[in-house]
């Protein structure tokens, strides 16, 4: 009995190691996943590596904004950029960089920033000002809020340090020994407000941070967890059609039904089309269900361009189905198809930003992500769902997806073997 077990085990080991697809599935796929995900997340786990780049437009006529920016830059997590191509950064250039996808966040310090912080506490009317945080609306709140929180902390510290001495001087001049209780209480409140720069107890802080978007980008809704994750995981999900399609084609070859169909009066292009169409339809249904359910159940905005949504979905589904044809053509066994699919899909989804946003990846990995259709599809969906763009704006990305689909399909058909 033991000999039979050993013989069976040896036979299966031989079969396994003779099948490159199965070997890739077991060894290469997890390795690729580890490599890609580790690089992708390096910015989150390794201080000093993959710093978050912040654009800073300093219009301040004084020194207070510069001091805050210096403190931000001294932090390991941030790299503050106040110039671009050798020129001081302007708001227009910063917005262009965000719209172009090169940066995700810019801070604009107003010209009167220092004057407001250093104003006379005895002034009849207190002056206020605001810092603009210009953010790509597709950027996740998990990324933006900690940055704004850090900035808020630095502003409070700066405000307190700038305003406290003047506030106390004023209070000593104002204070008299025979002050009634009610007047004393009013003094306490005034002291608290003055010493915190209006952040505590006052009617309005002297400095506020206002979040906005670059000119030309509409904000449908700041992305919540669903808006961030649904497009990413939807795209990740639709590409699994590759596995279904490849398995189905290889099963037909193995079971001889393709041979039977080849005898029938049916040309090969029709046969292949007949094979693809149902999977393309399944993909579209999958997209409709995932986006529809996320909208109905979680209140996720679908943007204001149904035409754009349809165009991106048709192109994304075509790309996924095209990749299915390519894998069906390259794989000779179902095990090979399985290995190749998992290797391709996980790597492409990770590189394309389906699991973690591409903007937290190192620059070279962000660029590399553009070789995946996932990155283009995800960006196109975020244009529609979050940035409020319409069909016209997403057409270039739809074009790129169509080119991916044509390339996958073309190579797949060229390499396809019916037997």
């Amino acid at each position: 009995m033991l000999k039979q077990i050993l013989a069976s085990a040896w036979k299966d080991l031989k079969i396994f190691f003779k099948d490159p697809g199965a070997v890739a599935l077991i060894f290469l796929q997890p390795f690729m996943f580890i490599v890609v995900m580790s690089y992708a997340l390096s910015g989150l786990f390794e201080p000093g590596e993959g710093q978050i780049q912040l654009l800073a437009v300093n219009q301040d006529r004084g020194t207070q904004a510069a001091a805050i920016l210096r403190q931000l830059d001294e932090m390991d997590a941030f790299q503050v950029e106040t110039t671009w191509e050798g020129q001081p950064l302007s708001r227009e250039v910063a917005e262009k960089l965000i719209v172009g996808g090169k940066r995700t966040l810019a801070l604009v310090f107003p010209p009167d920033f220092s004057e407001v912080l250093e104003q006379d506490p005895a002034a009849a009317q207190r002056r206020t000002t605001r810092i603009l945080a210009i953010v790509d609306p597709a950027t996740s709140s998990q990324f933006v809020e900690p940055i704004l929180g850090t900035l808020q902390g630095l502003i409070e510290r700066r405000t307190y340090m700038a305003m406290m001495p003047r506030g106390l001087d004023h209070l000593f001049e104002w204070l008299a020994p025979q002050t009634p209780v009610e007047q004393r209480e009013a003094f306490k409140a005034q002291a608290q407000e003055s010493m915190s720069g209006g952040l505590v107890g006052g009617t309005e802080p002297v400095v506020t941070v206002e979040r906005t978007t670059p000119a030309g980008m509409q904000v449908e809704q700041y992305p919540d967890t669903f808006q961030q994750n649904v497009p990413g995981y939807t795209i990740y999900g639709i590409f699994w059609i590759v596995r279904l399609l490849a398995d189905s084609v290889l099963r037909e070859k193995r079971e001889g039904t393709f041979r039977r169909l080849l005898v029938a009066p049916m040309n090969r292009a029709v046969m292949l089309a007949g094979k693809l169409v149902p999977y393309y339809i399944i993909n579209l249904i999958q997209l409709a269900i995932m986006l529809g359910a996320s909208s109905l159940l979680f209140g996720m905005s679908l943007g204001h361009s149904p035409g754009g949504l349809v165009a991106v979905s048709l192109a994304a589904a075509a790309t996924a189905t095209g990749l299915g044809v390519l894998v069906s053509a390259l794989a000779r066994t179902e095990a090979q198809a399985g290995g190749l699919t998992i290797l391709l899909l996980l790597t492409m989804a990770a590189l394309g930003g389906c699991f973690v946003p591409r903007f937290i990846m190192p620059g070279w990995l962000m660029t590399m992500g553009l070789i995946t259709p996932h990155a283009w599809a995800l960006d196109a969906y975020q244009d529609l769902l979050v940035r409020g763009y319409g069909l016209w704006e997403v057409l270039p990305k739809v074009g790129v997806l169509a080119a991916f689909a044509a390339a996958f399909f073309g190579i797949g058909v060229w390499r396809f073997r019916f037997e």
Partner: protein, 313 residues
């Protein structure tokens, strides 16, 4: 209407240096069951695959129903039905759905399709299992449905590639009866098998194939006649073979005798009396008989006679 339904002339198919089909020629009359008999790897499936338009030939000409296979494939396809060696069915679909799919591929629709499916299910005895998934069927039931799928569009020529492989005796008989019924309806059938009893029972004519070539082609009776009354293989000491051969050739019931693989090969007009004469001769010459094999006259022994190999080798 052409005299022959199928005309094959000088057919050659190569895979690299290996010649799978080597200058094969034969004609098949309309309504005839033509058998291709040979062991695995003889070239039967390659030949039938070329005829079924699955493989292009490297050389030679094939005419089916008056149409040239290479130039008029589109006209040939509706004429032919193909039952592959594999169970080429969709296991998760029902018997009805499988037949409906293949019927639609051939252009059947609506009532005509439904009637044809019902007729096919009746024919193969699966009407009561029409709605069941094929994966729940026994091997024999799947084989029967496999044949029905090849017949759904009423082909004039049917290619049956080893249709009884892995089938229980009951289903095998069912398939035999079914093939005979198709012949009675006038269908032309090319039937490949490595079971000599199938070829003997079903086929009007049989081509014996080995290593890509046709070694003999005749009716079963004609082929068996090649052996006369049977063949006797006798093992004797090597030095006795040359002494015995002239005497054996003079025995009354011996037609021919030769040395083959260190044994005597004796073709007889009648095996039993020839065997007695042979034993008497060996006794008289004091030559011990080391082994003895009598091949009854059938297609198996014809194949052995022609190739020196057994069909199931």
């Amino acid at each position: 209407m052409p005299d022959s339904m199928i005309e094959i002339d000088g057919l050659v198919k190569k895979y690299g240096d290996r010649v799978a089909v080597n200058k094969v020629s034969f004609h098949v009359q309309e309504g005839e069951i033509f058998g291709l008999l040979g062991p695995n790897g003889a070239g039967k499936t390659t030949t039938i695959s070329i005829l079924a338009t699955l493989l292009p030939p490297d050389e030679g000409q094939v005419i089916i129903g008056g149409y040239d296979l290479q130039r008029e494939t589109g006209r040939i396809k509706p004429l032919i039905g193909f039952v592959p060696q594999e169970l080429a069915l969709y296991p998760t679909l029902s018997a009805w759905d499988n037949l409906a799919f293949f019927g639609r591929i051939y252009g059947l629709r609506g009532t005509a399709l439904k009637e044809r499916i019902a007729a096919m299910l009746d024919l193969v005895g699966l009407r009561d299992r029409a709605g069941d998934a094929v994966r729940t069927f026994s091997g024999g039931m799947k084989r029967r449905l496999n044949i029905a799928a090849g017949l759904i569009h009423r082909p004039r020529v049917l290619f049956l590639d080893e249709p009884t492989v892995g089938v229980d005796p009951q289903s095998r008989n069912f398939i035999f009866e079914h093939v005979e019924r198709l012949k009675a309806e006038g269908m032309t059938i090319i039937y490949t098998t490595h079971y000599m009893e199938e070829a003997g029972r079903l086929c009007d004519r049989v081509a014996i194939m080995d290593e890509g070539r046709i070694l003999a082609l005749d009716t079963s009776r004609g082929l068996i006649g090649l052996l006369g009354g049977g063949v006797i293989h006798v093992g004797v000491a090597a030095e006795a073979i040359e002494d015995l051969l002239p005497a054996i050739r003079t025995l009354p019931h011996v037609r021919a005798a030769s040395a083959q693989d260190g044994r005597l090969k004796i073709e007889t007009s009648e095996a039993r009396p020839a065997l007695l004469e042979l034993i008497e001769l060996c006794n008289a010459r004091d030559v011990p008989i080391l082994s003895l094999e009598v091949l009854e006259p059938n297609l198996e022994s014809v194949f052995l006679h022609l190739t020196g190999k057994r069909l199931r080798d």
